[in-house]
Symmetry: C2
């Protein structure tokens, strides 16, 4: 999940304006953009599968699926991401739409692309919070223990996540 | 918090392009914009005070402050919000900056304004998740109980929150 949204998609979003390889032509940047998005999608799909299996295969009793606020946000994000990907791939890649349609789609594709990426970051944020709360209450952490690495690490990760969002969207 | 970010700031962000009172002049819209932001700031400051007091006044033992990922994200957001407000108020309102400076500030003010608002929504999302996890583990909810209103309500609220973000930013 973090690899998908945090690394591949972040780089994919910057591949037009701030490419890692600045000598690439527009066609090259476009290829980087969709290949990275495809890798991100793969990571995210595997992440979902892992989350699902970790619930339904749990012994002795399976844990129910999709109950938490985090999972609702995550599922909504993935649904929108799938739409974004299918629409973009069929308009810009294969079979390809008319130039007029591409031009009209551009601004919407950029807005919805940024929006779904930010939703992914928010899903990560709620996932980190959920995991932290589980650890905290599971281990019954109190007082000074709340300032230990296990709680502080995700708290700092949260701030870095916000920074990542700001930097990528402003780039 | 929800009133501040979810209602007042949402409306403040829309007050230029999609005002509730469409006959307002640009000056009127500007006044609505900063008055709503001021109200939002007030709500948010009171919210912070309440969160702080609920920890430090807790009996028999105070709860530590600012340990969770949620609180780190919340504090970062509030710091940026304060900067945004002070810069905007002094440039656009009092004492007011030169026209050249205002024009240069415009795009940055819009970007950082949207960014800090989205961070506020993300803070709400993690807050909802934290509260839900506390309730869940505190009451030891399992199996079908995880689908009760107490867990489902925040899960649905999460999706509505994402929708609010999309609608306001796309307006
Ligand atoms: C650091 C990142 C993340 C962490 C620590 C994390 C943590 C967790 C945890 C603890 C669960 C099990 C509890 C529950 O069902 O709520 C879970 C489930 C889930 N997560 Fe995440 N998550 C992260 C990122 C994401 C992202 C980015 C998405 C989607 C965009 C996502 C989607 C889901 C979904 C859909 C479930 C429910 C699976 C099921 O119930 O079968 N997660 N996650
Ligand atoms: C699935 C996730 C995707 C997301 C989140 C996404 C997001 C974005 C964003 C944010 C931009 C603006 C970049 C900038 O201006 O710096 C962009 C541009 C673009 N994307 Fe995607 N994209 C996705 C998939 C795809 C796919 C599969 C293609 C197929 C080739 C594609 C083709 C393009 C093109 C052609 C542009 C430039 C549009 C223009 O300049 O009018 N995107 N994308
Ligand atoms: C529905 C919305 C919200 C809920 C349910 C919620 C819930 C909570 C809970 C349960 C705590 C105590 C546990 C902890 O310290 O992490 C808390 C603390 C805190 N919240 Fe929220 N919150 C919400 C919105 C926000 C927002 C929008 C912000 C800021 C932008 C924020 C900032 C904080 C801060 C800074 C603390 C730490 C206070 C301290 O430790 O003294 N919260 N919140
Ligand atoms: C503190 C939180 C604030 C946030 C989050 C914020 C956010 C925003 C956003 C998103 C816009 C773009 C609206 C649009 O294009 O539809 C905007 C425009 C504007 N805001 Fe703010 N604002 C804040 C405070 C203020 C204050 C205190 C003033 C003082 C009067 C102010 C003055 C303006 C002006 C003059 C514009 C129009 C800028 C232009 O068109 O170049 N803002 N604001
Ligand atoms: O597939 C593409 O369509 C156009 C489109 O983006 C126009 O808005 C473009 O430059 C591509 O690479």
């Amino acid at each position: 999940m973090v690899l998908g949204f945090g690394v591949f998609m972040a780089e994919a979003l910057m591949s037009y304006q701030a490419p890692l390889l600045p000598w690439l032509t527009r066609q090259g940047r476009k290829t980087v953009h969709w290949v990275l998005h495809s890798l991100a999608l793969l990571c995210i799909a595997l992440g979902l599968l892992a989350a699902y299996k970790s619930h339904s295969l749990k012994l002795p009793v399976p844990i129910p699926n999709w109950y938490s606020p985090h999972s609702f946000l995550g599922l909504t994000t993935m649904a929108l991401l799938a739409v974004q990907f299918v629409v973009a791939a069929s308009a810009y890649l294969y079979p390809g739409a008319s130039l007029a349609f591409r031009l009209a789609l551009g601004p919407l594709h950029k807005f919805s692309g940024k929006a779904v990426w930010v939703m992914g970051l928010a899903a990560i944020a709620t996932g980190l919070q959920e995991k932290t709360s589980f650890l905290q209450t599971g281990k019954g952490l109190k007082g000074d223990q709340l300032y230990s690495g296990i709680v502080r690490l995700p708290a700092v990760a949260m701030v870095l996540l916000a920074l990542l969002g700001l930097v990528v969207l402003y780039h």
